[in-house]
Structure formats: structure tokens, C-alpha cells
Amino acid sequence: MSEAKKTKTRTIAVDMIARVEGEGALRVTVKDGVVQDVELRIFEPPRFFEAFLVGRHYDEVPDIVARICGICPVAYQMSAVHALEQIFAVRVEGALRDLRRMIYCGEWIESHTLHVYMLHAPDFLGYASAIAMAKDHPGILIRGLRLKKAGNALMTLLGGRSVHPISVKVGGFSRVPLRRELEGLKEELLWARDAAVETVRWVAGFDYPDFAQDYTFVALHPSDEYPFNEGPIQSSGGVNISAAEFEQHFREEQAPYSTALQCRLNGASYLVGPLARVNFNHDHLSPLGKQVLADTGLSLPLCNPFHAIIARSVEILYAIEETLRIIDSYEPPPCPSVPVTVRAGTGMACTEAPRGILYHRYRVDGDGLIREAKIVPPTSQNQRRIEEDLRAYMPRVLDLSNEQAALGCEKVIRCYDPCISCATHFLKLDILRDG
């Protein structure tokens, strides 16, 4: 951390916000003790992948988009294949549909566990990092690593490897698991279910700041299941649309201080991710999940961003239970994928990435070549909302030292598990104090 004084303005510069993936910077301007501006700048590779996809054959898309993010490759693959399948009028149903839910479960387990244990819990327990926390709580960290590994095993079996799955394709998979291969995961998943229950209880015992915000929540909200790949997009403000209508309501705007685009719903900020999903879909949790959530003593809707760690933990439990449910009913499909007949058109899809809804739109020509691609990741949707949270939170930390104020801002940002790696490295923090 460096500190410099220029006339009345004091600058705090934190070299990076640790434990936030990606590259970006936060600048907060304070004048006479009042927050003037909060700017979260994300140095997103300017839509590199959208441009890179143009001219590629549709069957290359799942492998390419998987590399946008090392933490949520399945989300990118799922939004892509569902958008492309809409163009080709392909329906993936039955066991193949279940397997797609299952591989998404694997990603949620991996991603959420990483965030809960390694990135977010240290904030609540007073540690600078998970490594420091591990010295005092090795058993908890070992539990986290083992839980994450259960997600890795799912990804490896279904996706061919634990990051950047290679078996996902338009129409299904290149290979589907044998029943005995899935059965082989059960014992560890049963352990993981118990560990997930313990995880919810563990995080529910943390001390939380009283910081409820007035959010517009947005999530997929199917009528009969917890969402992964399908369902209408709903907002707590009354929006209820299909993915095909997304761009009529959600608009991306270029912030002058960032290469990333900020997405707004009818001109206003909104929140996507675990809090929104739990608020909309808690009725679709299992009886165990509902009970564990009720045991936290929290009332719904969850409106405190710091409670996202609880929502994530509840979703880890859901993902494990859903995987076990699918394993128990699994009969391998006759073919690993359904046939695809290429035709020109435009398709849109929205799926629930660990951090929130992820929108894809593709235009394909008659040869199956991509002519246009649009990708709206969850972090760009939450970006404006993070800024508003920071604006509301800053008065609590203005009287603290520069270092502590910066740390407070980091903690707010980490609630969102921002995956700026859909951008890249480092996040810098500047607080400008004038007067």
C-alpha cells in the first residue's frame, strides 16, 4: 500500500485486492466526509472472445468459451450450447438434460467452495488470507479442499477434465458416463452432503454487519426446479421474460472509466447470483436444504450482501443433493448426443453461472459459422450494484485508517465473488479524500 498527499487530496493505493479474481481497480472520491464517486473499473479484455468466435464453426464454440473463465467454464459452455440449440431447434431432454444439470452442479460445488472457504471466510474470521487461516483452522480448510474435490471429480467424469471440460457439445456430450462410474462417486458425495450441512452451520455462525440493501434481484425462476440451464428471467421488480427478450430490458453501457460494460435493467442496477437465486427459488430446495436454511434463523428475502456466503453454502448443499438424486435415477441415454441439423438463425440463452445469470446470443449462417456473438457475464451485471453497495458502506469506514478503509471496501466487493477474470489479473484500490 502506498500513500501520497497532493494539496487536499489523499490517495490510498492498494496494489491489488487480494482474493478477488481478475483485473480491475476501485476509485473512491470523498469530499468533506461525503462520498462523491465510486468507480469500479474492470479491465476486461475488450470483448476479445466475442470477436474471436466470429468465423468459427459452431461446434468449436463450447471449447473456446470454456477458456473465458477458469472458474466457471461450464456456465459459458451451457449458455453457448443452449443458445445454439435454440437456433437448430434441438431439444436436449431426459438423461442428457440431467447430466447437464449434474456438470453444472460440479461447477457450483467447485466455485462456491473455493469462494466460501478460501476467499470469503477469512474476512469473517479476521485473517488476511486462507493460508493464515489454515494455520489456526487446518481441519476446516482440509474439509473445504475435500468438498471442492468432490466437485472436481464430477467435472472430471462428465467433462473429461476438472477445468475446461471438453466433452460438452451442441446436442449433448461427446461421451456420457456409465452408471457404475456415477455410482463410484456416491460414497464421497454422501460425505460431501454432510460436510455441506456443516458448512452452512459454520458460516451461519459468523458475525455479520447489519447492512441490508434495497436490491432488485434477478434470477432464473423455473416453476418446478432450482435453476441451472432453463427458466424465465424474473426480477423482484416484476420483469418476467424469456432469454430472447433479454436485450429489450437489459442494456449494457460503457462506463467512461472502464473497458468493461455495465449492464442495467431498464436503466437501473440489479443483483444476480446466489442471494437472488435463493430468494426466488428457495421453494425448490430439498427438505434438508430448506431445514438447514431455516436453521440459520435468517428471514427471506436475503438482502444483506454479506449473507451471500450463506446462500452459496446452501447452494453447495443443493448441488450435492441434486447430483445424488440424478445418480439414483440415472439410466445412460442411448446416444451421448442428439443429432443437429445446421440452419441459419439467431439464438439466445441464459443460464445460472455460480455468480449469476450469464447471457449468450449467437447468429449463425447456413454453414454453421458464427457471424455474431454477444456475451453478458454476471460480474458486469453486478458491477453497478457493487458500486452502490460501496457508496452505502463507505460512511462506515471513513473514520478508519486508510488501510482499514480499503480493507472494508475489499470485503464488500468479495461478497459478490466477482469473477473479473472474465477480465484478468489485479485489482487496484484508490481512495481519494478531499477535505
Binding site: 474471436f52 477458456r67 477458469g70 486462507a130 489454515a134 494455520k135 484478468t424
Partner: protein, 163 residues
């Protein structure tokens, strides 16, 4: 990440992102090593592995980890760290798309008693990590050297003087 499924006690793990310019150095070095190492070690290309490197190291007796580094030295500088000798400084590897960087992952492994007895880290100083770019000339020009040094390391030869 690819794995042969066999658990060789000696492993070479190349970490990086093939779509991010010089960040691909570790993966590309591992790719070259695959043909040269034969059955002397398991070579793993780990794209964006992060904390997962601990899984990749499980039950190994010795690991050579190759990753992109960013310390401010000139692009193409080759760093060598012996993680077996003691805790590593976190200044060499950026907090990154790897979530916990290589050093963070190794130190977590050390704290939890999950580190193999011998872990050598090669860091290739990056220049350009712009999405979509190829390796910069400075990094492309030292990949052969990285490969040679890792091969020497594998043979237990002391041809590495450290950087």
C-alpha cells in the same frame, strides 16, 4: 488440465492460460516436455489450475511446477524457486485468474501438510498477457531454455544456478 490418470511419483506441471499471451508459457513448456520426458515423469498441462495444483501433486514424491511470473524483471527472465527449502515469497506470481496463485497454493499445501517432499518452481517472467495474443518474442525465445533446465532438473543435475 489433462492427466493420464496414472500417478507417476515424478510430475511436471505447466500452469497457464493458452489464450492470454505470455501467461501460456507454463502450459506450452509442458507441452514440449511431453515428447521429451517419456515415462520418466508425468507431464500435466494445467490451464488455470490454481489451487487445483495441490490435487495434481497428490502422492507425488517430486514436482516441477512451471508458471508465468510477474515480478517486474525483464520479460523472459527465468526464476527458479525451491519450495522444499522453505516458505516462498508471494511477490513473484500475480494474484490472477489462477485464483490463488502458484505460491499461495503451495503455501496452503505446506500449511496443511499436503506438499510433496520436493517441489521446484520455475517462473517465466511475462511481458504481454493480452487476451488473444501469442507469446511475446522475449518469452518465446526462452521456452527452449526452460525446457532444458526442467529436463536437467529432472535428471537431478545441478545445471540450474537460480535467478
Amino acid at each position: 488440465m489433462t492427466s493420464t490418470g496414472t500417478r507417476h511419483p515424478l510430475r511436471i506441471i505447466g500452469v497457464g492460460n493458452l489464450f492470454r499471451g505470455d501467461d501460456a508459457a507454463g502450459v506450452l513448456a509442458a507441452r514440449r516436455l511431453k515428447d521429451l520426458v517419456g515415462d520418466r515423469a508425468e507431464v500435466i498441462e494445467a490451464e488455470l489450475a490454481g489451487l487445483d495444483v495441490l490435487d495434481l501433486m497428490a502422492d507425488a514424491s517430486a514436482v516441477i511446477l512451471i508458471d508465468a511470473a510477474r515480478s517486474g524483471r525483464p520479460a523472459g527472465t527465468i526464476h527458479r524457486l525451491d519450495a522444499s527449502a522453505g516458505p516462498l515469497s508471494g511477490d513473484l506470481f500475480p494474484h490472477s485468474t489462477h485464483v490463488l496463485n502458484a505460491v499461495d497454493a503451495l503455501e496452503m499445501g505446506r500449511t496443511l501438510g499436503l506438499l510433496p517432499p520436493q517441489v521446484i518452481v520455475y517462473g517465466v517472467e511475462v511481458g504481454d498477457t493480452t487476451a488473444g495474443n501469442d507469446l511475446s518474442p522475449a518469452v518465446a525465445g526462452v521456452l527452449d531454455q526452460v525446457v532444458e533446465r526442467v529436463l536437467c532438473e529432472l535428471e537431478g543435475l545441478s545445471c540450474t544456478s537460480g535467478s
